[in-house]
């Protein structure tokens, strides 16, 4: 119904990488997307359409973390450990006030965020790769 009001409440959002909670978001919280489309299609010159469904579920989560947040320290520590040991961690992002859920049992930080310091508070952009990610892209309940 058009007059229904539903609410996304950031307080109900949790995002964890291993035993660490990711917080301290800049403007946007996160952008998550599969790296490749699940279904690709091609239309032949005579109009016949062919489709290919792939099993690839590698996804990328990009976080903008405010430069002063201790989350940067945690992500940096984990990135160093991941680079040295090949460690992966489970990743879960869950909207507790809705149905959105992103899960990956093997996630890793792709690279050290770029350091850019100046007179204003900026964002550090961290890219987390999610292997075999399950993404439920839902709405909110109430």
């Amino acid at each position: 119904m058009s007059n229904v009001t539903k609410t996304f409440n950031i307080n109900n959002l949790t995002c964890t990488l291993g035993a660490f909670q990711i917080s301290g978001f800049y403007d946007d919280i996160v952008a998550i997307k599969y790296d490749e489309p699940a279904i690709t299609s091609k239309q032949g010159c005579d109009g016949e359409v062919g489709r290919a469904i792939n099993k690839k579920k590698l996804a990328t989560a990009t976080f903008q973390i405010i430069q002063t947040s201790s989350t940067n320290d945690l992500l940096c520590t984990n990135f160093i450990s991941m680079r040295e040991t090949g460690l992966t961690l489970p990743f879960i992002l869950k909207d507790g006030s809705g149905n959105t859920l992103i899960e990956s049992s093997n996630a890793w930080i792709e690279d050290m965020a770029e350091i850019s310091l100046g007179g204003e508070i900026k964002a550090k952009e961290w890219v987390v790769k999610l292997a075999n990610a399950n993404i439920i892209n839902g709405g909110n309940n109430s």
Partner: protein, 435 residues
């Protein structure tokens, strides 16, 4: 004088991430022996057993031999010792003017037979020699060429080594089989599988019951012909029929026309494989000939979920790799799910133990959920759980958790549903052709 700690205080915290776990490839062979006094010893081959004093005819040696002749095979086994206060020794070979020895706890007692030796005379001579010594055992002459050794203090272990002209013919029961296995479990609980060498039916049922509550996989062998000659409804006395009636999940039995240690061979070959990779059916075992059974005999055994070792199309094979439980049914399912259970337990424990705190918040619950997700995916990679339908993990919101659980710091309702991969063990194919 001022202490340097007042100036430079160094505190080093050690984080111990090592968690003691069950080894799903480790077999305990339980039997009577007077070779060692420890509760168990670890062996990686049979040569080590001979060096310790086992004989090539001992049940433990034959079991180990069955294990180590398989390909693939486990890299080691435990040999566990049942307590026996008394032991009966027979003078098997009589020779004139020969030294007969009985070594107790490293002290050798000798009797030299005369020029008209009898086994009665030799046994009597050894008894006198032993009782004249100070070892904490009392020897008794049975008057028939055998003699007994009995511990002066109940359950006080002692070793016995005898020359090749003598033989240990029996052991006196020191305590129940459950007490024996529990006393080993107290000092080493890393083993997952167990077999025992005596196969006394009372002990089989006792040990099977114990394994149900201790989550140990027990394999045994029976040559009771009721298993193959009577159907499920008629047979009420065989071990297989009784275990089937009890619906035991952690015990399997193999019928053999002649008792041997074929369960050791099956353990040796299948425990060597990672969980999720193999069924225990249709496996050919080195060193064991197949039983020739009629179709009816085979059906009778399999109806009780008792396994057989038969020749199928020229191929010796275990049929059907089953436990006695009517739901779990297969040995590999039991082992795979125990592996998964331990994997989840260990990793969730590691999460709790290796972090200063997992908060009782949605974030903390997510951390626990993340670990569960990782282990479920691991089980998929291992071939235990099916990738499709996709396993579903559900977790409560912190706001919906009862206060009492928060007070007690217990997280409940972290649940998953998943599908076992299962396995194909037989086929039924229908074909239709026409002109």
């Amino acid at each position: 004088m001022a202490d340097i700690n007042q100036v430079v205080d160094v505190q080093i915290t050690v984080t111990n991430n090592e968690i003691s776990t069950e080894d799903f490839s480790l077999l305990l062979v339980l039997g009577y022996n007077k070779v060692f006094t420890e509760k168990y010893r670890v062996y990686a081959n049979t040569k080590g057993m001979l060096a310790d004093g086992f004989r090539a005819t001992d049940a433990e040696y034959l079991s180990a031999s069955a294990v180590f002749m398989q390909n693939p095979m486990v890299d080691r086994i435990l040999v566990g010792r049942r307590e026996a206060d008394s032991v009966k020794i027979s003078v098997n070979t009589v020779a004139d003017n020969r030294d007969y020895t009985c070594t107790i706890n490293g002290t050798t007692f000798t009797y030299t037979s005369d020029s008209s030796a009898t086994n009665i005379e030799i046994a009597a001579g050894l008894v006198v020699a032993i009782n004249a010594g100070t070892q904490p055992v009392t020897a008794t002459n049975n008057g028939d060429g055998t003699y007994m050794l009995e511990a002066d203090v109940a359950l006080a272990p002692y070793t016995v080594a005898i020359d090749t002209y003598q033989l240990i013919v029996s052991y006196g029961v020191g305590q129940s089989i459950v007490e024996d296995v529990e006393s080993i479990q107290e000092v080493n609980d890393t083993w997952y599988a167990i077999m025992e060498t005596e196969r006394d039916s009372t002990d089989v049922l006792l040990l099977a019951a114990w394994c149900e509550t201790n989550y140990k996989l027990y394999g045994t062998v029976s040559s009771d012909t009721n298993i193959i000659d009577q159907d499920l409804a008629t047979d009420t006395t065989s071990v297989a029929a009784q275990l089937r009636a009890l619906d035991y999940r952690y015990t399997f039995c193999i019928f053999r026309k002649t008792l041997d240690f074929i369960e050791a061979a099956l353990f040796g070959s299948q425990l060597a494989l990672p969980a999720g990779t193999a069924t225990w059916s249709m496996k050919s075992l080195t060193g064991f000939s197949a039983d020739s059974l009629t179709i009816n005999q085979s059906t009778n055994a399999l109806s009780k979920q008792c396994n057989t070792y038969e020749q199928i199309a020229g191929f010796n094979a275990i049929r059907n790799g089953m436990v006695f439980d009517s739901v779990f049914m297969y040995i590999d399912v039991v082992r795979d799910l125990d592996w998964l259970k331990q994997d989840i337990q260990v990793e969730e424990f590691r999460l709790l133990a290796s972090n200063p705190k997992i908060p009782y918040t949605d974030a903390g619950i997510s951390m626990c959920q993340g670990v569960l997700k990782k282990e479920i995916d691991n089980a998929i990679n291992m071939g235990i759980l099916a990738e499709f339908p996709t396993p579903i993990i559900t977790a409560p919101l912190a706001a919906n958790v009862p206060i009492i659980d928060k007070q007690n710091r217990i997280l409940r309702n972290l649940n998953f549903t998943a599908t076992l991969t299962g396995a194909i063990q037989s086929l039924k194919i229908n074909g239709q052709v026409s002109f």
